[in-house]
Symmetry: C2
């Protein structure tokens, strides 16, 4: 029952991986936002899957976390964390 | 002189990889657009790096091409093609 993990949409994968990668770096949403030049509220809404985030902002967030963007859209990365 | 390939922005990598992946599949911009539910003009502008494409549309395009989205944002994929 329920969808397999691999069935997550691109938005859902990015939302989940962003949160997990941020936590791995021990950053708050506010700290990540400051680093990326985005607001805490915007980071929060992305992590909740509420925002249809753009490629430019995806790049800013990946750079701020110092992870390759490909990892943030990879359903097999950051699995089983949190 | 000039930026190294690895310095391409996320938008530039996606634009380049989308075009190369589409050509590998022998699809026209119109065919890809039809498959993804997007217009030919929109696909064209994404490939030119003119559009700040959203994660939802990135997912639609990756699905239409039957490639993982992570490959379309990976600077080391589809290199040296075209």
């Amino acid at each position: 029952m329920g969808k397999a993990t691999k069935e997550l949409s691109a938005r859902e994968v990015f939302a989940r991986n962003l949160r997990r990668a941020r936590r791995l770096k021990d950053l708050s949403q506010e700290q990540l936002g400051l680093e990326a030049g985005l607001s805490r509220a915007y980071v929060s809404s992305i992590e909740l899957g509420e925002r249809n985030v753009s490629v430019d902002n995806m790049g800013l967030l990946a750079n701020a976390l110092n992870v390759p963007l490909r990892d943030l859209v990879d359903p097999d990365k950051f699995r089983g964390l949190d």
